[in-house]
């Protein structure tokens, strides 16, 4: 393993300090915690807290700022943060209008964030939560953990953040977030696995001509393997599964996120994006906004995911509202 690190135990803390050094106008670190909050402190509106394991940068700290998150909690690499950390974030960002937790659907994340919500409610803080589960690679079933939360989470941050910034109350911000969750779907693939620094080797092994379809964002293996083919062909497969959900049809307006996994050149993401645009146009699906880049990464994994969100007037207007954060700026 070759990594630009000092010690595996210090990565998260050093990263957070490096982020605050880079963006002091946006974020500050809660002293003694692995938490980034807005530099100017709590705001008199509904506050949004997200987070999860580290290794997904710029998620989640990169989205702390006006129009998106108020706090982001960073766990160890690919490991949910602990309840005490989330609780501190909630206390720090609460401006009196309540706090919405945006959780990705993983067993550990849900448990830790729920315990933190219980602790905060005991303190009299109004806390609600939404759980993002946009990954269509995983079959949804009441008998399993359910679908994973992946890149679609970034669109929840954006739109719920705009809703909170507009002055909506906690119940309405939650309603908007749940509307995004109901209409957003994603699917990803990997050309190469990622290497968790503390583990020291790739999280799965692929032959030179193999790709993994349906991967998550933690180096967990996907649904199946196949021989590598053209990016158009690969994008078709991801899109087929997403469109198979029956949410997106001719005449609909969508937001499109072509998300890099961390190790994929932007050049390749744009090539993929060209094809996705062509396919959606051929199906009469109108793209109201396209976002291409590394937003929900998986360390050094090479690969990408496609996310579609069906828009109505409310979601479209909130999506287009201004945002000013380290990793997403829009005027």
């Amino acid at each position: 393993m070759k990594k630009l690190i000092n010690g595996v135990d210090d990565i998260v803390s050093e990263m957070l300090d490096g982020m605050t050094a880079a963006y002091p106008e946006y974020v500050k670190r809660l002293e003694g915690f692995e938490v980034l909050v807005r530099a100017k402190g709590a705001t008199p509106k509904v506050a949004l807290v997200s987070g999860g394991g580290s290794g997904h940068e710029p998620s989640h700290g990169g989205f702390v700022g006006k129009g998106m998150l108020d706090g982001a909690v960073a766990g160890a690499v690919f490991t949910s943060p602990t309840p005490d950390q989330v609780y501190e974030a909630v206390k720090a960002v609460n401006g009196g209008k309540g706090v919405l937790l945006i959780i990705k659907n993983y067993t550990g994340d849900v448990m830790n964030f729920e315990m933190a919500a219980d602790m905060a409610r005991d303190e009299g803080i109004d806390v609600e939560q939404v759980i993002v589960a946009d990954d269509v690679a995983v079959e949804n079933s009441t008998w399993t953990t359910g679908r994973r939360g992946i890149a679609g989470t970034v669109l929840v941050h954006k739109i719920a953040g705009a809703a909170a910034e507009s002055g909506m109350n906690l119940a309405d911000v939650k309603r908007v977030a749940e509307k995004v969750i109901a209409n957003v779907r994603s699917m990803g693939m990997a050309v190469n696995a990622c290497t968790v620094p503390a583990a020291g080797k790739p999280s799965f092994d692929l032959a030179d001509d193999e790709i993994e379809i349906g991967i998550g964002i933690h180096g967990e293996p996907g649904t199946h393997r196949e021989k590598i083919s053209s990016v158009n062909n690969i994008a078709d497969k991801l899109l087929e599964k997403i469109l198979g959900e029956g949410i997106y049809g001719s005449g609909d307006e969508v937001a499109l996120l072509v998300n890099g996994m961390g190790g994929t050149p932007l050049m390749e993401l744009f090539v993929a994006n060209k094809h996705v645009n062509d396919v959606l146009a051929s199906k009469g699906i109108k793209i109201a906004k396209t976002i291409v880049g590394n937003y929900m990464t998986s360390l050094d994994m090479e690969g990408f995911s496609i996310t579609l969100l069906k828009l109505d007037d409310e979601l479209k207007s909130l999506l287009n509202a201004p945002a000013d954060t380290p990793a997403f700026v829009q005027f």
């Binding site: 690919f78 949910s80 067993t107 550990g108 830790n112 079959e139 968790v196 583990a199």
Partner: protein, 207 residues
């Protein structure tokens, strides 16, 4: 006896830390390659936080549970944290335990894990080792066995439970994303739970 619960926690911690790479490797196959790393970090903190001279077993276990909760992360943190805190409640104020206390600890820990994890037996989780172990322990005690012999039998059942996890599909936790591909792999959580039982038994045997 003052310090005896710390000694027991030390044996658990040493066993987990010694098996850090093994647990991580198991997790690499069906999870996200961090179980051993997270558990080792948690027990290192437990041994730093728990007072080595603590005589109140319940207090020590409560402290251990809270420490696991705030250091392990993932799903294992809340689950093991809850299990230790529930055990701590059962043993609050006690300076030694008998075979019935141990039975109550098994049952309270399992109830805590089930409540937090919303899981049942047969979903390829730590419960597939702990529940059979608890049942065997209770049966042996009711038949008149002493704590050490009952625990020996319980550990055997836990090992069978770990083997059983290789044959079933995961329906809880990250391994559930693999569906049928999770078959053939043993559950890291069932494995770490079994390591803990072995360490407790070693402690009782004076090893």
């Amino acid at each position: 006896m003052p310090g005896s619960i710390y000694k027991c926690l030390s044996l658990i911690g040493e066993r987990i830390i010694a098996n850090k790479d093994y647990l991580t490797e198991l997790d690499r196959e069906i999870g996200d390659s961090d179980h051993g790393i997270n558990m080792a970090r948690g027990f290192k903190a437990v041994l730093e936080k728990v007072n080595p001279d603590e005589s109140d077993i319940g207090a020590a276990l409560k402290k251990a549970g809270m420490t696991l909760l705030s250091t392990v992360g993932g799903a294992s943190g809340p689950l093991y944290g809850t299990a230790y805190m529930e055990a701590g409640k059962i043993l609050a104020g006690k300076t030694e335990i008998d075979s019935q206390d141990m039975k109550a600890v098994f049952e309270a820990s399992i109830a805590g894990i089930q409540k937090r994890g919303k899981a049942v037996r047969g979903e390829k989780t730590m419960l597939d080792a702990i529940i059979p172990a608890s049942e065997t322990y209770a049966k042996k005690i009711s038949e008149g066995a002493d704590m050490i012999h009952a625990l020996d039998a319980a550990i055997e059942s836990a090992h069978e439970g770990v083997e059983y996890t290789k044959t079933i599909i995961a329906t809880k936790g990250r391994a559930s994303y693999l569906g049928e591909r999770s078959i053939g792999h043993q559950d890291p959580g069932a494995t770490s739970a079994t390591l803990m039982l072995e360490a407790i038994c070693d402690y009782l045997k004076g090893k």
